[in-house]
Subunit: 448 residues, 2 copies
């Protein structure tokens, strides 16, 4: 059952061997190795299998004992505005209009700049690493700050510069929004193997068809992903229908925006025809149940999207509407929400939800060759969860534990791109005290 | 602003002073002391106020530094079958009938005995302590095992022996169910100030009117709480209507079961008249959103119950239908579920939910004089949450953090009855390795 990449050069010791864990590969066969190991050379996995065999085959410079632990692919957070960590808890339990126009929008207008985005994203990265996320997909303004934080913090990310037809932080003249976005993409493309730049057209109700088409054209030209918020609220759908006579997903289809390099965030209010269109186009969709619940946006038709083969991954959305970035918690919420919403306890199984938070996200990002499962040849992005805790005992089904019981704080070690970025819950790539102090300082300027 | 109990004997040092924390009293005025302290003598709080004043007034034998921490009343888990920790994750994502009759019921019939209930409850107690619960309300069979675990584990609990008109674990002859329950109450009444015995009439569809009336009569005689599952599923309501021509809450009212010493669990499918009846009777209600979601039972009318003044607290239900006992997670789920269900993001605020998980539970248990807030004269049941972590930065509103961001693993110290039962996340009252080993052993007998 050991899977090995035959193309790897096996002379000399490998870099890292994780051994003795319950290895959940999430490969096509859903192989589980009860006493399993993962061999890592450089930034890649070179073998996955029983510990005994791998220990003999692969002498390693570094051994990581994962006994009493679950070893699995790192989680993929498909939708985030990471820097909004600065606004965490600033304005909760409010009507949507008051929340946005009374609090979040003014705070963004006054306090979003590259420096604050850097610190907010760095703090968010620390939180994500500490809760088992290895890759996140981001979109915000002054995104250079986010990109710098990703490079510094050791995570993998898709970072998108936001485009909107209004004055925005860092882009006071909306006439320059595409130019700024293109500059961002040029600056960061090829900069780090962990960072993929992207452009985020805010939405069909805040960007003209022309802006969206040009943004997508730039993405195609530079071969980077295009992102957009789609059908998050009922009000948005009504507005787009009023303006363009088409529902949002159909409108995006008309504009030629939907293909496998486009990510649609939310897709809460989508009808059957739009689900079909999403599936046929190959576009990715992020499902963000906690944000949709907290803002009372609605319940996305996740079971139908999954059944039709839409490439759906899981996201947290930003901290202003969640308020945390713990994907394990998001998994629990997703599984339970859809069960009660449909009145069917067999819906959205723990296995389906686990796959959505890993392989699903990788597929939606077009990164399935590199991410989403523990297989030879893929990037060594993986997490180690400590199972030796009261709330994780007994263990009958690993995926049940992941979805219904485990939480971010159970993640012991995190490896991104073959590098250990958290060991025994200590984040090795980020000065936590400094990141917390800086974000507290920013918060004092937001609410003195 | 310092609140002190004048009746306390102030000669000599007090037992414990918790100082320097952000103290969330949850008293009537909702006082918050940003640099606050709590003074404890014996099992009681004797003063709450600013650190500076209390440090001078109350020399203490033991100081607990709570700087960078939030200090608040211990959480109250109003509905649990703690020993079902043994079945955690045994049977998930299944149709209700298969889940219960195919898995849980047979496992209970074969594996529930006093010894297993002891270990399951002890493990559950460890999990609850580690996630900030200081009091839980339990009901199961072979409940002597649970009572022993509560006494040993250092928590506060209401433990109810289950009554059902079928052969049950430990009570093969249902003709003896009331006798066994009364013996249980006699045995444990007055045994420990932390333990209140109780009788749990399983439900209106599994107990005859006669059984329920007799069980309630025994509770009144011994002055202990009576508990019952009510209107958890639509099917249950239909069955009760078919048999008795009345909806379940009305049926219980007819039988004279509803008063302030009765706890109704779930109350998902209750109509306006039943909500009124619950409010007028003074009966307590446990709201268990995660269990109701996972089993697709439905969404209880929590906002309406709260608006009508029903005494509602928060519960996790047993581990077979949740699958964890983390009330902070349950709080998050509750706040978000009702927002999206009603389409109103201003519903079920963080403050309301925090109160439900503390004062609400105390009121439902008839224990408001002793529990639910940090006030002089009340029991010293409190928890200390470490705020110096990336996901809890920045801090604008304490209750927002509690509900939307904090998790069980953020609880640093737990005090029950004036005694420190967890310090720096180490549970001092339970041998965790032993409890985990015993429950793993039980699990191997359940699924070899």
């Amino acid at each position: 059952m050991t899977a090995t990449n035959p193309q790897v050069n096996l002379r000399g010791p490998i870099d890292l061997l994780i051994s003795g864990g319950l290895v959940l590969t999430l490969n096509d066969r859903k192989d589980i190795f009860p006493d399993g190991a993962v061999a890592v050379a450089g930034d890649r996995i070179i073998a996955v299998g029983p510990t005994r065999g791998l220990m003999e085959t692969f002498p390693a410079r570094r051994l990581l004992d994962a006994s009493s632990c679950l070893v699995m692919p790192g989680l993929i957070n498909l939708h985030n505005h990471a820097a909004m960590a600065c606004f965490r808890g600033l304005a909760d339990d409010l009507p949507l209009e008051t929340w946005f126009h009374g609090h979040i929008f003014p705070a963004e207008a006054r306090h979003v700049n590259e420096e604050n985005v850097y610190w907010g994203t760095l703090l968010a990265a620390a939180e994500m690493i500490r809760s088992g996320t290895t890759t996140f997909c981001d979109g915000y303004f002054c995104e250079d700050g986010a990109a710098r934080a990703v490079v510094a913090g050791g995570m993998r990310a898709v970072c998108a510069q936001g485009v909107i037809d209004f004055p925005a932080p860092g882009v006071q003249d909306p006439g320059r929004n595409l130019e700024v976005a293109e500059e961002f993409v040029r600056r960061w493309r090829g900069h780090s193997s962990r960072l993929t730049p992207s452009i985020f057209g805010h939405s069909a109700y805040t960007c003209s068809p022309q802006t969206l088409k040009q943004a997508k054209a730039l993405c195609l030209e530079h071969r980077v992903p295009f992102q957009i918020h789609v059908s998050e609220t009922k009000g948005e759908v009504e507005e787009v229908v009023r303006r363009y006579g088409r529902r949002p997903v159909a409108h995006l289809g008309d504009l030629g925006l939907l293909d496998s390099a486009t990510l649609c965030h939310h897709a809460v209010w989508v009808d059957e025809g739009e689900i079909d269109l999403l599936a046929r186009s190959g576009a990715g969709v992020s499902h963000n149940p906690e944000s949709n619940m907290k803002l009372a946006s609605g319940v996305a038709p996740l079971p139908r999207m999954l059944a039709r083969g839409v490439k759906v991954g899981l996201g947290t959305d930003g901290c202003a509407s969640n308020n945390d970035l713990d994907l394990l918690r998001e998994m629990d919420m997703a599984a339970k929400l859809h069960k009660v919403h449909a009145g069917d306890p067999a819906l959205c199984t723990a296995v389906q939800i686990t796959i959505m938070a890993t392989r699903g996200g990788a597929a939606a990002l077009g990164m399935s060759d590199d991410l989403g499962s523990l297989e030879p040849g893929k990037k060594a992005d993986l997490i180690i969860i400590d199972l030796n805790q009261p709330h994780l005992v007994p263990l009958y089904e690993p995926c049940s534990h992941l979805v219904y019981t485990a939480r971010g704080a159970d993640v012991r070690d995190v490896i991104v791109d073959g590098r250990i970025v958290m060991r025994n819950r200590e984040v090795l790539t980020i000065d936590l005290e400094q990141a917390m102090a800086e974000v507290r300082r920013i918060a004092r300027s937001i609410r003195p």
